[in-house]
C-alpha cells in the first residue's frame, strides 16, 4: 500500500493530466483512494463508506482555491472531516470536585492495557494534587493483583485487594478503604473480558451499578481491526461508558479503530497510552489522530512528550 494519502492523491490527479479542478470524474477516483486509505488504517468499512460519501459532497461543493492543488484541497477536507468526527477538542476527565471519593472504573478486552492505564492515571492525578487509591478488581488473571501492586509501589499509591475471587467485594472494599483512608479518587481495575462472555459482562454491569463511577472508561488497543466497532458497541450497550482510552499508540498502527469507535458509539476518546512506563500517558488530540490515520505523521504529540 502507500504510506501517505496526500502523496497518493497527488499521483491520482497527476495521472488525470490537465485536471486542475475537482469534478465528477476525478473525484470518483480520488474517493476510491481515500476509501482504501481508510480501510488500510483499519477504519470500519461502513464508517469509511459513509465518510467517503460525506467527503465527496463537501469536495464537489468546494471551489478550489488557486494556490492549492485539488489533491491538497481534498486532503484538507478529509483531515477536517476526520478531526471533527474525532471530537474536535480534547475532552478532559470529568471528576466532580465535591464528590469524595470520585470513582473511575476501567473495562475492556483482555490485554488491552487496563492495568497499566490505571497506574498511569493514578500517577497523573497524584501529580495534580489528588490522593488516589488503586483497587484490584481483576480477581481472575494470574498475578493481576501482583501486577497492580508492583505498579502501585512504583508510583507510591496504595493498592486495595482481597484474597477471595470476588470482584464486587474488592470494589466495595476499595471504596471503603478510600473513605477511611481519606483518599479522594478510587481507580478500579477490572479483568479483561470478551463482549460475548455473558457472565463476565454481567459482572462488569453489576460493578458499575454498585459503584456508580464518575468515569467509566473503555480501554482499547489501537492495533485493533474491523472488530473494534462491534466490541465497543457491545461494551457501550451494556455499560454505557463515559469515554475511551486508546492504548499502544507508541506503535505504528494507524489506529483507524479510534475513528470507527468514536463514530459509532459517540463517546469521546479521553486519553492515549503511549508506552509501557507509568509516565507514558497523554491526553487525546483529535487532530493529531486524524493525521495519523491518514498517514500524515503524528510527530507533534510525541515530540511534545519528550
Amino acid at each position: 500500500m502507500f504510506d501517505n494519502l496526500s502523496d497518493k492523491l497527488e499521483l491520482t490527479f497527476r495521472k488525470l493530466a490537465g485536471q486542475a479542478t475537482i469534478n465528477e470524474v476525478n473525484i470518483g477516483i480520488a474517493m476510491r483512494d481515500i476509501k482504501r486509505a481508510l480501510l488500510s488504517a483499519d477504519v470500519n468499512y461502513k464508517v469509511a463508506k459513509k465518510l467517503v460519501e460525506d467527503i465527496r459532497e463537501k469536495s464537489l461543493g468546494e471551489s478550489v482555491i488557486k494556490s492549492v492543488s485539488p489533491a491538497q484541497m481534498i486532503v484538507k477536507i478529509v483531515n477536517d472531516e476526520l478531526t471533527e468526527i474525532m471530537g474536535g477538542e480534547n475532552q478532559p476527565l470529568n471528576l466532580p470536585p465535591k464528590k469524595i471519593p470520585a470513582i473511575v472504573m476501567v473495562a475492556g478486552l483482555q490485554g488491552s492495557g487496563k492495568t497499566t492505564f490505571c497506574a498511569k492515571l493514578a500517577k497523573r492525578l497524584k501529580k495534580n494534587g489528588k490522593n488516589p487509591i488503586l483497587v484490584a478488581a481483576d480477581v481472575y488473571r494470574p498475578a493481576a493483583v501482583e501486577q497492580l501492586k508492583t505498579l502501585g509501589q512504583q508510583i507510591d499509591v496504595p493498592v486495595f485487594s482481597v484474597e477471595e475471587q470476588d470482584a464486587m467485594k474488592a470494589a466495595l472494599g476499595g471504596l471503603e478503604a478510600a473513605r477511611s483512608g481519606a483518599k479522594d479518587v478510587v481507580i478500579v481495575d477490572t479483568a479483561g473480558r470478551l463482549q460475548i462472555d455473558e457472565a463476565m459482562m454481567a459482572e462488569a454491569a453489576a460493578l458499575k451499578n454498585r459503584l456508580s463511577p464518575d468515569e467509566l472508561l473503555f480501554v482499547v488497543d489501537s492495533m485493533m481491526g474491523q472488530e473494534a466497532v462491534n466490541t465497543a458497541k457491545a461494551f457501550n450497550d451494556r455499560l454505557d461508558f463515559d469515554g475511551v482510552v486508546l492504548t499502544k499508540l507508541d506503535g505504528d498502527a494507524r489506529g483507524g479503530a479510534a475513528l470507527s469507535i468514536r463514530q459509532v458509539v459517540e463517546k469521546p476518546i479521553k486519553f492515549m497510552s503511549v508506552g509501557e512506563k507509568v509516565d507514558d500517558l497523554d491526553v487525546f488530540y483529535p487532530d493529531r489522530m486524524a493525521q495519523r490515520i491518514l498517514g500524515m505523521g503524528d510527530i507533534v504529540s510525541f515530540v511534545e512528550k519528550a
Partner: protein, 305 residues
C-alpha cells in the same frame, strides 16, 4: 427472519438475483471481506481474481455465481497454504528443543507458553519454562502461577535481570537435566522499537552459544483482534528473529483473525496454533481448512449496525 450473519450468508446474499458480476457486486464483496479483517491486499487480490474470471460471463443462476465466488475465495485462502500442524507427541528434532515466544504487548504470549507447556507435558515430554520477561510488572509471578498449573519447572532471575542470561541458564539446565523442551517467554515489545528488537536478537545469540541450532522454533504470537498492523508486526519480527510460525490468540471472541491469512500469504509464515480461551487447555493445532470454514461460518457481532 434470520439475518445475514455469517460471512457465508453475506456472500450468498450479494449474489441474490444476480447472474453477472457488476460494480455493485464487487463493492459489496470488498466490504464483506474487509470486514472479516482479511486485509485490504488479500481482499483486492480476491476481488481481482473474481473480476478476471467473470469477465464477459453470465451465470445460469445466482447459485452458480455464488459457487464461483466461494471457489475463488477458498482457492486464495486455503490453497496458498504452507501449514503443517505437528502434534505435541511427535518426536522433536533436537534435545533440548528450544522454543522462543515473541510478540507485541498483551498479545497472549505468557498464556500461550503455559498452554504449550501443558500440551508438551501431557504428551510425555519433559519441559522447562524460561522466564525471560524480566521487565513487565509481575511477569514472573504470572508465569510462575501458570508453570505450577502446568506442573512444569520455571527458571528465572527476577525483575530487571538480563533476559539473555535467563535463557542461557535455562538452556544450560535443560542440557544437564535431559529436558526435552525449553519454552522461552519473552517480554511484550512493539516491533517499531529497535532497541527492544535488538534485545530479542541478543537472546537468540546467547541461546546459540549453548546450542548452535537454538532456538529451534520462534513463535510469533498475534492477537486475533488485530487489524492491518499484524502484517507489519510479522514483517518486523522476522527481520530480527527467524520466526518459524504464528500463534493466533483470542479467537474465542467474535474476531475472525482473518489477518493471518494475509500474513501467511505475504510472508509465507505458517500458522501453528490458535488460542481459544484463557484456560490452560484452550490451545488448538491450526488447521487451515477448518479455520477458513470457521471464518466463513462465524457470526458477526449483533452490534454491527
Amino acid at each position: 427472519t434470520k439475518t445475514r450473519d455469517t460471512l457465508k450468508e453475506k456472500l450468498a446474499f450479494v449474489s441474490k438475483g444476480k447472474t453477472e458480476v457488476d460494480d455493485e457486486f464487487l463493492e459489496e464483496l470488498e466490504n464483506i471481506l474487509v470486514a472479516a479483517d482479511v486485509g485490504v491486499e488479500t481482499t483486492l487480490d480476491i476481488v481481482d481474481a473474481i473480476t478476471e474470471r467473470s469477465k464477459g460471463k453470465t451465470y445460469r443462476s445466482e447459485e452458480e455465481l455464488n459457487a464461483m465466488v466461494m471457489e475463488e475465495i477458498r482457492k486464495l485462502l486455503v490453497e496458498s497454504s504452507h501449514d503443517h500442524p505437528v502434534d505435541f507427541d511427535a518426536p522433536l528434532s533436537a534435545k533440548p528443543y528450544v522454543i522462543m515466544i515473541v510478540g507485541v504487548n498483551g498479545a497472549g504470549k505468557t498464556t500461550s507458553v503455559a498452554k504449550l507447556a501443558h500440551n508438551y507435558d501431557k504428551a510425555g515430554k519433559k519441559v522447562v519454562i524460561a522466564a525471560a520477561d524480566t521487565f513487565r510488572a509481575a511477569a514472573y509471578e504470572q508465569l510462575k502461577i501458570w508453570a505450577d498449573r502446568a506442573g512444569v519447572p520455571i527458571i528465572g532471575q527476577g525483575q530487571g535481570a538480563d533476559p539473555a542470561s535467563v535463557v542461557f541458564d535455562s538452556v544450560s539446565s535443560a542440557v544437564s537435566k535431559g529436558t526435552d523442551v525449553v519454552l522461552v517467554d519473552t517480554a511484550g515489545r512493539l516491533h517499531n522499537k529497535s532497541h527492544l528488537m535488538e534485545e530479542l536478537a541478543k537472546i537468540m545469540r546467547v541461546a546459540k552459544k549453548k546450542i548452535p541450532e537454538a532456538p529451534h522454533e520462534v513463535l510469533l504470537v498475534l492477537d486475533g483482534t488485530t487489524g492491518q498492523n499484524a502484517v507489519q508486526q510479522a514483517r518486523e519480527f522476522t527481520k530480527f528473529v527467524n520466526v518459524t510460525g504464528l500463534v493466533v490468540t483470542k479467537l474465542d471472541g467474535t474476531s475472525k483473525g482473518g489477518i493471518v491469512l494475509s500474513i501467511s500469504r505475504e510472508l509465507n509464515l505458517p500458522v501453528k496454533y490458535i488460542g481459544v480461551g484463557e484456560k490452560i487447555d484452550d490451545l488448538q493445532l491450526f488447521d487451515r481448512g477448518s479455520f477458513v470454514e470457521a471464518l466463513l461460518e462465524k457470526e458477526n457481532g449483533k452490534a454491527e449496525g
